[in-house]
Amino acid sequence: MGYLRPATLSEVFPAVASGARVLAGGTDLYPGQGSRLVGPVVDLTSVAALRGISLSGGLRLGACTSWSEIAEAGLPPACAALQQAARQVGGRQIQNVGTIGGNLCNASPAADGVPPLLALDAEVELLSAAGARRLPLARFLLGPRKVDLRAGEILAAVLIPETALTGRSAFQKLGARAYLVISIAMAAVRLTVDGDRITRAAVAVGACGPVASRLPAVEAALLGPVAGAADRARQADYAALSPIDDVRATAAYRRRAARELVARAVESCA
């Protein structure tokens, strides 16, 4: 088997089970290859069940939904961070083909899609011939380039529970240039405000550890009056982060930047 582009899931599963690589937007598969992909590949982009956005109660994003489609969709304000991230993944050409499912399965510590989804309590739907599994995104992402995907399984959809589609959210990305940039750090914040008080807070930071993560200590600090929330974000406890030194920045800088990015995201959605 070389390259397969089936229209149905029932054709996908045996191919995946036999070890074919899974292709969607191709943006992570092609770099480093020769003029073509070698070995068995199963292309998911013709499977209608894996595409599209539906909002009924919760939100379902098919794994093969592109960043452009997400950016252009009419979504509740709670998804603003996700849509802002969608406009900052790579450049326009990447956004037009790169998919949300690919972004998650590639599991880069700097994946721009992850913090907004964590802040939306996202779950992933994993399908195989044996059936379906549902996992919180935080448990699906195990480490750099490592996800909890069993043999024969594919990521089919990202699910946002209705309870998380409340409030407003914002995304902050930091890089050394304007476009096409791997994040030095990024933050997504979703706040539910009742009157002048923040009643629920979800905060996630990326590129500051092996995987992006929620920061419960920061979320706890944000609950309370809207006034002063950004300052509380600046003073909160970020000990859960474990950034590294690399070509883009130092670990110490990332810690400070994360604090500031969270505070700014709070400012823009409080």
Partner: protein, 893 residues
Amino acid sequence: MIGFRLNGRAVQVAAPPGERLSEVLRERLGARGTKVGCDAGDCGACSVLLNGRSVCSCLVPAGQADGAEIVTVEGETPELTRLRAAFLRHGAAQCGICTPGMLIAGAELLARNPTPTEAEAMDALGGVLCRCTGYRKILAAVCDAAPAVAADAPPAGQAVGAALVRLDGAAKVAGDSFGADHAPEGALTVKAVRSPHPHAAFRFGDLAGFAARPGVAGVFTAADIPGRNAFSVIPPFADQPAIARSPARFRGECVALVAFEPGAEASLDGFPVDWAPLPPVLTPAEAESEGAHLLHPDRKANLLIEGRVQKGNAEAALAASAHVVEGSFTTSYVEHAYIEPEAGVAWIEGDTLVIRACTQAPGMDREDTALVLGLPAERVRIIPSAVGGGFGSKLDLSVQPLIGLVALRTGRPARMIYSRAESMASTTKRHPAEMTGRIGCDARGRITGIVFEGRFNTGAYSSWGPTVANRVPVHVSGPYLTPNITARARAVHTHGPVSGAFRGFGVPQGALWQETLYDRLAEKAGLDRLEFRILNALRDGQCSATGQILQAVGIGPCLEALRPRWRAALDWAAQGPGRGVGVASCWYGCGNTALPNPSTIRIGMTPGGEVVLHQGATDIGQGSNTVIAQIAADALGLPVAALRLLGGDTAITPDAGKTSASRQTFVSGRAAEKAGRALRHATLRLANAGQGARLDLAPGCITVTDGPVRRRIDLTALPVDARGYALSAEETYDPPTTGLDANGQGTPYAVYGYGAQLVELSVDRALGTVTLYHITAAHDLGRAINPQLVTGQIEGGIAQGIGLALMEEYLSGRTENLHDYLIPTAGDVPPIDSILLEIPDPEGPFGAKGLGEHVLIPTAPAILNAIRHATGAVLTRTPALPHRILAAMEGQE
């Protein structure tokens, strides 16, 4: 079979569905208007429309194109038609390599939004990298809101000074033919085996076995090289093998070639070579230390060369100075990052080896390739392709001797296209510099003296190291009157990438040291930073650091032209936290340093009445095809439109030297002026006409009108020369320079250009990020032969200066791609106002001076000076990445 509609036409192609769409388009369908810059989605050059959306065709499997509507740069949609015209009028295409991707990205935008704002255009173009325009003209073309200045056809005698649409522009907006874009039938695919280590011994295993694999046409090593396996751009230093023998001296060095049959899978997997890594010498400090391994046994302490300039007594002058500042500055390896990786094809024609490749220096390619391959130079013909950016690195040989060797050995066409990683690992870089010294001034702020010492990491081989070592001491005073100077610059070998020529030959590094110290010195002297520079600016009749009496010195007027904006900018900065303003100057000698540097230009008139310009000044995007023609046309007295251009093919065009050192407008321009005038005189003589006579061409004849007298010269009646011309002229110009003595004294250049730039920015005090608001660039270029090409050069140079200042750092083995190695994108270059000053140099054609490198020099120091003004942060290292700026703000760096 895969079927899709390509530009409205149904096509069927038998491609593997997992093949990159870019490969299908280019190699199976021959649609090579679409370019490939990285094969990783990092540059956007390969953008095409897939069902109306722009995508990187290098990342799209052919299978996904099945049934789709594909539009490429070859397409004719209303948006593409509109954009092509706008790109020409706005001068948005320079080298042209990013142009197809930009056109496609722009077309996607215009289809959904015909009147985009600049911000919307930036978002749309942010995924396509350009290395030479600075993006401003591309954004202007896509928005097309402001009128463009370009002129189409100036009448005879009025070409110089006209913002003429570039003569090769139509080809650029159609998808020009670059090094990778010519593929003769049956061409072998050549791949290089390269060292994965900075220093390693190696041994080959069963080469014959590998050569016998199906699809392999041949394996070649250093043992196959018939000539002298050592080249250099400066012949006395020839030290770099085309294919190395053990040991390899840098990561990326070529040690063997494999030629594959057309269509075969070109995989080097399992190539029989064993590597034994050896301890590398990675820094100049290690290289100069006692007992260090010598890369080249005859170069003691790994010293390639030291350049020096010594005038007066700098130490005594500093001791007697009212104010002295001392400082050090370090720069990184910087990659040229042109969007076109090196590529070309070689074939045999009779007994001649023909090489068509991207290059800045066809004449030098011919000489060095002939030496390596053991051929007389007459049996090597170099045909330059369009060049998708050079910036200095395409002066050195790359593919030429490699494909030449394969073609010679097999008798078959041989084609080679570097991958992005290969291009970045194996070709030259800007020299990393470690610079230190002191500058003093008297109580009134007049410079008294400079002591400077620079150490430049020249990497494994000589390349342009000698030029950098010589240029830096000559220029490190900046364009300021400096009565006493002791300046030394050493080029030191390491096992790092080979450092060579990169826009400015070390002068930008020196300016970072000098111009940042100038700000501190002005402050000590209690003077405004701009006025301090004006006070010290060199003036006509004054003496440079090398003892040369200067003429047509434009730095004072450039700095003075910045005064109004400077005052307004200081007011602006005072009104907001984190705002800063910086200024820096440049000067730059045009042409080789203290060495001969001739150009020859030929113009011929055919019996049919066609005027042919043999334009050998390689156009790498900077515009020599247009500028040289403008000069030649006015010197001859015919409209530019009457000229037919022939390129720098070494078989048909005399050598106009290399495109480097900002020399083409000046040196080749002067040769073109001489040739144009010589042909005019010859024509007038035939008609017994006076100097002011008018020439008019018609088929087979030329009419000479001198006042009331009109004479018709029948060209068909004149005897033709060996080249088929009825009339022709060939002229050479070599700038009058002298050598430099042991103290670096002499006249190293005949012409200098000058400039100064003013940067307005803000620094985010919490994140250390920089937002550029505006740059004002005042440049004295003697005469703006083509003002639109001039501003294109300024904007492009500034973009590279921004990269140098804020983001570019090449780390061998770590940033060999365009997502870890960052260059500015469409959103990183602020609005730029260019102020053109024309202080004519008597030596230049129509007074023109060089400009191409000058424009990059002031940008980075002006940015650092503005950052210091904004925050107090003293940065002593580039790039000023956000974490470094924040550390410097807190005094940690």
